[in-house]
Subunit: 207 residues, 4 copies
Amino acid sequence: MARAAASKTRTRIQREKTELILTAALEVFATYGYRGSTIDQIAGQAGLSKPNLLYYFDNKDAIHSRLLERLLETWLAPLHALDENGEPITEILAYVTRKLEMARDFPRESRLFANEILQGAPRILDQIAGPLKTLVDEKALIIRGWSQQNQIAPVDPYHLIFSIWSTTQHYADFDTQVSVVLGPRAATRFDDAARHLTDMFTKLLRP
Amino acid sequence: MARAAASKTRTRIQREKTELILTAALEVFATYGYRGSTIDQIAGQAGLSKPNLLYYFDNKDAIHSRLLERLLETWLAPLHALDENGEPITEILAYVTRKLEMARDFPRESRLFANEILQGAPRILDQIAGPLKTLVDEKALIIRGWSQQNQIAPVDPYHLIFSIWSTTQHYADFDTQVSVVLGPRAATRFDDAARHLTDMFTKLLRP
Amino acid sequence: MARAAASKTRTRIQREKTELILTAALEVFATYGYRGSTIDQIAGQAGLSKPNLLYYFDNKDAIHSRLLERLLETWLAPLHALDENGEPITEILAYVTRKLEMARDFPRESRLFANEILQGAPRILDQIAGPLKTLVDEKALIIRGWSQQNQIAPVDPYHLIFSIWSTTQHYADFDTQVSVVLGPRAATRFDDAARHLTDMFTKLLRP
Amino acid sequence: MARAAASKTRTRIQREKTELILTAALEVFATYGYRGSTIDQIAGQAGLSKPNLLYYFDNKDAIHSRLLERLLETWLAPLHALDENGEPITEILAYVTRKLEMARDFPRESRLFANEILQGAPRILDQIAGPLKTLVDEKALIIRGWSQQNQIAPVDPYHLIFSIWSTTQHYADFDTQVSVVLGPRAATRFDDAARHLTDMFTKLLRP
DNA sequence: AATGAATGAGTTTTCATTCAT
DNA sequence: AATGAATGAAAACTCATTCAT
């Protein structure tokens, strides 16, 4: 009844513990997937007891859902920032760069998202079909506009976006493979990737 | 001991049932991940009883491992086929096309692989570090050669390969998202993707 | 229906296979106990398939019971041979020697028996309460007679028999411990034991 | 992880339940052997639910191992007490008596040990080869000394110790048989055994 | 006789969740 | 807020036994 999650006023401690748990859960879920993660693992990672963790969240699913909710905001921010009034190629390349920086700085978020989509997005299909699709449609329209006005080469805006997503997220989601394949060269993988992707998308879009 | 899996001579039934199980397991593992899948699910999918399934495979892990073993062969075949003596751009575009066809025709294999890498490749790290890396190194050398001889534009062969992998596999691994975002346009997603990717990689590689 | 075990006429092959199975089962049961042994293990040891083994014996219990049945005959033979008309001390010492030889030559039989008694003799209580007790009572009477006629020192015949059983069987049942404790001296353990036990029972019985 | 068994500070309940479980497990393991015992049986005997029992011990083997660990201390105590400076025959007879009392008062411990050795001591071979052998070697030296100084008759100290172990433990390990054979006389079996064994070892050792 | 195939009934263990304090 | 204790439901095997050929 008096669950922390339910009360509207949060104490500082409640907020801190909630964050602590979410951070731990992100780490665990991103590595082992939802079913592969146990509450024990998350509690251990957070330095809490299992029942104490469940004092802050109703159940395992609630933690996961909260993570996914927040995720989408962060996730869509770089695309949000794509400015209709900016210089088209600059805007798109900046978007590529931001996405790649996210892969570098938030790989666990990327993997959490990948895990979820891979399994058929059982928990965030609504968000995909709602906010995400809406935003993509909106930005696709802008890109199509640029294309029609010959500011960039003709390109299918949706598949362009998919290419940006996949190439950048690859460095987070498939990092294990990337690092092994690159061997010692892996140290500079993000810089090398930035150069490569900038080159690739520049050539693609130059009218 | 006297497990079917251990005997050297396989009867027809053994071969059939083994295939049946692997097919069912691929479906289940690709959808729910290793930990998220149960032997019961796989047995159900295969139309067998659980103990009967375990008559053919020693345990859950053995099924998964067998799938991954086979997978790598199929997985590397398109890259294997990249011919040093072919016309460079044609060869690379053909590789893109083959990879995209695999994403279309074997999406479950793609997701099985993605699931495994996402979790840190606990079960196939050896294969990644061994055969896969060896093959990539070999083909990267070829691509670098083409590049140095100006047959294709200068390009980092490793990151080129990553881009090909990620953009094509995206249509299998993130199909849920792709389909939702494209809505009715999803019907032609593979053809549209082929056009888009061919365009993109052509522009990237043209000297 | 046409079970081999049920038919009265046995072919040579049937007899041979039956023996083969019993030998294998003795080995396995003696080492792992009844519950710790599996039909697979026994079949493996015998070089037969599981169903083939069960063609000769109705079930696991039947094999075990048959072993125990036979065992008792062998087991009681040395005591049977104790001759009322022999020289008392000689007779008893000869009995000790025969028992020790059995521990040396048939350790698996000894352990099978020990396992069974340890668990409360669920399967051979009848044999213990019947033939075994009858025989012991009979021989105890003889020993008591010798004792009363001063041919041997006064001794409780039952506890004498228990002492003979325990000291000799110890070398089979606790062989693991005996061998470890004796270390290199273990090689001569049966000869040393013979000397020691002969000495001990001689001193005990000398009037 | 957060298993009760792993935490260092034990609450009262933890200590009590742990004892409760070990007592129950001793009863069950001693009767049915390791493989013949189920966690269900032990939980039932202890009046706990199966998962609750597994809250205190990681698994079946952990319970068994703990029992065996403790056992050895108890088991070796009587031999430990054999005093080099005492009167030799008195010391050895006192040892016989203590061992017989243990067979009477702790028959389940005796059977647990016997079960383990019978199976080849898979779980306590180290303890046998280590502490047990060390102690036996030490005491054998003392006995040999007594023997050489003619304080007791010449005797192989190792085989003497085996005789003491086997004759006394027999009343615990083979109690089923002993009781059936003795019939009504079984009531006084430990007193009769004490008299018999005292007599036997006295005669053996008197110089 | 012999064996590949199949299964029901356990048995061990895991784990999310709840209870009591 | 926090935690030790407890549990039901599931999941991964195991194994004696039967079936079909």
